[in-house]
């Protein structure tokens, strides 16, 4: 039995990863489909990462774009055309050669309405599909309708699907239903490090090493190192933690809750677990008011509730350090905008901040005519309307409920009453989409770390522009200005210029405060001490995005019970 090296030693590049072994991870939910083009749930995305491939991939640890199924590419002088050279000798696991026809087919499926693609919007430039030419089996030419700042990074969104398996389905209009979770493994094809071996509904997904995987390590040894990867379906987070503690799974897909970090520390001391800090979360809790003009037209609070000074007062009234300590048990950092330090390329440390000051908050409220005009503790406007609003949040989400309680207590100190209304998530989303709310506290993530690839939040027409969703024309001057800046930065190809433009977007956002942010969690993953060669990434799958280079010590495998 080989003793496991200390956890800390394993996070770098261990001298000799060991070939073989089984890694067992938990996963919370059932797989819905193996068709990544038509399904966007997490298990489908994870399985696509493990079994399929991309032309280029964004390295989740370094944020850099790196060659993948395409070994190189060139860019035209006008930055509109990218010519990719595909790797030689790459085959699907059934022996069929991988060629440019697979790439063209995948784009065709993405843009074909009958395929009901969920990737279509993420693969448009200037609202137009990309033009794909395949002059020979090893060359793919991709042409953008206009210059696009993220460039080939955009292609990280495209999962390449096997033409020889799915061409008939696309031609027959049944592509959207192809590769459902009931599809036998023999009917699938893999080009990634693993291939599906079996799926036991409600229990587990078993993936075996793809013997035809194209990648080798620096010693020339074929990857992946693991022989088998098992995803045990464990829907309950507490049960998942117990399994991790008892060594029955090696890792989880979800980051640990703040309270669980403390629970696991003794096991780290005993050398049974590693606690990996991934960095600061990119997905944060958003506090926002309904800024649709129609919402307030007949409301007696219209003179002050939708005003930016009111939002600025709230931002001043919350002690973000205390918020991080209370809500995240200290495992968080204060933030002042939706871009967190976890997004290294686009985070702006100089973003205007609202320091904790109840005096400044009270002064802003007084400027809106809100004063305490009677004997109670709440402020009133000139008509005697109390400074009170309701906040909807997600019932059962401890982090949001605790955060809302902290904000309510802070606002009470400045005489503003906030009534918390916990709702089930679906009901909250319906109210958000229908504009039936006063304020909401909710968590959702950016589509991508590059702002040009997550326009849904920033653009006034965006589907995640939640304070006033899907506007036909910008409702305010500042939203029009952000639209213009976002369009300009998406077209710019110089990174420094793009960052400058996006800083201006963040400055306007911070001044107008359509959303208020308080803290972003530090993310931790718990991993068995037998697992090494890990490369924690900033986005899910945090660890399995580089599953081909993960290795386990031969002794003491996690047992799948």
């Amino acid at each position: 039995m080989t003793p496991a090296p200390p956890a800390a030693d394993r996070l770098g590049a261990p001298p000799a990863p060991v070939r073989g072994g089984t890694l067992t991870s938990s996963i919370r939910s059932e797989v819905r489909s193996y068709n990544r083009i038509s399904a966007r749930d997490y298990p489908t995305e994870l399985l696509a990462t493990l079994t399929l491939g991309r032309l280029v991939r964004v390295n989740r640890a370094t944020h850099d774009v790196e060659p993948w199924l395409a070994e190189s590419w060139t860019t035209s002088a006008d930055a509109l055309t990218y010519t990719f050279t595909l790797r030689d000798g790459v085959t699907w696991n059934d022996g069929t050669p991988f060629t440019s026809a697979d790439v063209a087919f995948s784009f065709q499926a993405v843009y074909d309405p009958s395929a009901k693609s969920v990737l279509r919007n993420s693969l448009l430039v200037g609202g137009q599909p990309l033009r794909i030419d395949t002059p020979d089996p090893h060359t793919v030419v991709v042409t953008f309708a206009e210059p696009f700042g993220p460039g080939v990074r955009l292609l990280d969104n495209l999962t390449i699907m096997p033409r020889h398996k799915l061409e008939a389905a696309l031609a027959g209009g049944t592509f959207a239903d192809a590769w459902s979770a009931a599809t036998p493994p023999a009917d699938l094809a893999a080009i990634g490090p693993f291939q599906l071996a079996r799926y036991d509904p409600g229990q587990r997904i078993v993936l075996d090493r793809n013997p035809r995987y194209w990648r080798t390590d620096e010693r020339g040894e074929a990857l992946p190192y693991l022989d088998r990867l098992v995803l045990e379906i464990v829907p309950d987070q507490d049960a998942e933690l117990v399994r991790l503690q008892s060594g029955q799974i090696d890792l989880t897909q979800q980051q640990l809750r703040a309270a669980d970090v403390a629970t696991l520390r003794p096991l780290v001391t005993q050398g049974r677990l590693q606690l990996l800090e991934i960095g600061v979360a990119n997905d944060v809790d958003h506090f926002f008011f309904n800024l649709r003009p129609a919402q307030w037209a007949r409301d007696p609070r219209r003179a002050w509730l939708p005003r930016r000074e009111f939002r600025q007062a709230i931002s001043h009234a919350v002690d973000r350090e205390a918020y991080a300590d209370t809500v995240f048990l200290g495992e968080a950092v204060p933030i002042h905008g939706p871009i967190t330090p976890g997004n290294r390329l686009w985070f702006w440390p100089g973003i205007p901040r609202y320091e904790f000051s109840r005096d400044k908050a009270r002064a802003l409220l007084a400027g809106l005519g809100l004063q305490n005009r009677d004997a109670d503790e709440w402020l009133e406007d000139e008509r005697g309307t109390e400074a009170r609003f309701s906040l909807i949040t997600v019932r059962g989400n401890t982090q949001l409920e605790r955060g809302a309680a902290v904000v309510r207590d802070e606002l009470r100190q400045i005489g503003v009453a906030m009534d918390i209304v916990p709702l089930e998530a679906n009901a909250l989303i319906k109210r958000m989409l229908d504009g039936q709310f006063e304020a909401i506290f909710f968590v959702f993530g950016a589509t991508d770390l590059d702002p040009a690839l997550s326009p849904d939040l920033w653009l006034s027409s965006g589907s995640a522009h939640v304070w006033n969703i899907g506007q036909r024309t910008p409702a305010t001057d500042w939203e029009a200005r952000i639209d213009a800046l976002m369009a300009e930065q998406a077209r710019a190809t110089d990174l420094a210029e793009r960052q400058r433009l996006f800083r201006e977007v963040q400055r306007i956002f911070s001044e107008e405060l359509p959303m208020i942010h308080f803290a972003a969690a530090r993310l931790y993953m718990g991993v068995s001490a037998r697992v090494f060669n890990l490369s924690p990434g900033f986005a899910r799958p945090h660890l399995l995005w580089s599953a081909d280079t993960i290795s386990v010590t031969p002794a003491g495998p996690a047992t799948s019970q």
Binding site: G202, R204, V230
Partner: protein, 324 residues
């Protein structure tokens, strides 16, 4: 003859129950705020969301959608799951078998624990054993299933006595039928115990009261006068007479167990109907919710029917009393 008519009427009632429960589930989920597109709504444009809603039939009037669904459901075609893009009937088939395995085991456990203890506490109420049993019953009834399941999972993880969850291990899943069966037998005690404890306590309480009533009956006193010991009189006469109220609640217990417990199934990762319904509800998967509700109601009705049949067999007066 009376028993036959009685059982036929009960079967008719069972069908009505299934129809009402599944229809009500579909209608209520459709009327509840939010729909199957909500979870991904922020990633979709308004046009894309409208297209998906149309594909799922959510843009149609409720009545039209219900009539369409019901006309297929009577032929056991419950439609296509939004969540899994598979026929609901296939999903129900997979999961109902697993729930049946768990529920049968829990039923056996609850019976083996509850009935003997009920006889003990009912026939010898003043002993220390009876007092301890009553206290434990109260505890089992009070502890929420979530807590009981988590405690058992923790116990299993700490001691290694039982697998901490799931229905089979990977090795057995691809092995022979015999290996699969023995592997399931290794996995089932934990969730079965979590599920059985409150029912065992219920059975103990009902059996105890029934036995206590029965031992006071003249025929038991007569049996003692004929020279039977107290224990023999309880075993041979009082216990049989006490069965009627116990069989009466068996129907409900069987129904509750077989319709699936989502809490126990989620915590112990048992791939059953309860978990399927939980996922379907969270995702507002209309047809899957209706399908799981129909299956649960069918199990409940079947359980009641079995209990009624047993009751009619044990005491033919039951059927006669209930005949109009």
């Amino acid at each position: 003859m009376a028993a036959g008519r009685y059982l036929l009427r009960r079967a008719g009632f069972a069908l009505l129950l299934v129809a009402v429960v599944s229809s009500a589930s579909l209608v209520l989920v459709r009327l509840a705020p939010g729909d199957a597109t909500a979870a991904e709504a922020l990633e979709m444009t308004a046009e894309e969301r409208a297209r998906v809603r149309a594909q799922l039939g959510l843009d149609r009037p409720l009545l039209a959608q219900y009539v369409d669904w019901a006309s297929h459901a009577v032929r056991l075609d419950f439609g296509q799951s939004f969540l899994y893009a598979r026929p609901v009937s296939d999903l129900l088939g997979e999961r109902a078998r697993n729930t049946a395995v768990l529920a049968s085991s829990a039923l056996v456990l609850a019976t083996l624990i509850g009935l003997p203890l009920g006889v003990l506490t009912g026939s010898r109420p003043d002993t220390i054993g009876a007092a301890v049993t009553r206290a434990l019953s109260l505890l089992a009834l009070s502890v929420p299933p979530l807590v009981a399941a988590l405690l058992l999972v923790l116990l299993a993880a700490r001691t290694g006595w039982m697998p901490v969850g799931g229905m089979t291990s990977l090795a057995a899943a691809s092995g022979t039928w015999g290996a699969w069966l023995s592997d399931v037998a290794r996995h089932v005690p934990l969730p079965a115990l979590a599920l059985a404890l409150p029912f065992a306590a219920t059975l103990e309480r009902v059996q105890s009261e029934a036995v206590a009533d029965a031992v006071a009956e003249p025929f038991v006193r007569a049996a003692r006068a004929r020279g039977l010991t107290y224990g023999d009189a309880v075993r041979r006469h009082a216990w049989r007479a006490s069965l009627r109220p116990v069989l009466g609640i068996y129907g409900l217990i069987i129904g509750s167990l077989f319709s699936g417990s989502f809490i126990v199934e989620v915590v112990t990762a048992w791939p059953g109907l309860g978990r399927l319904m939980f996922d379907a509800l969270r995702a507002r998967d209309l047809y899957l919710v209706a399908g799981t509700a129909a299956t649960g109601a069918a199990f409940l009705a079947l359980g009641t029917l079995i209990a009624d049949a047993l009751l009619a067999l044990a005491d033919p007066r039951v059927a006669e009393e209930r005949e109009p």
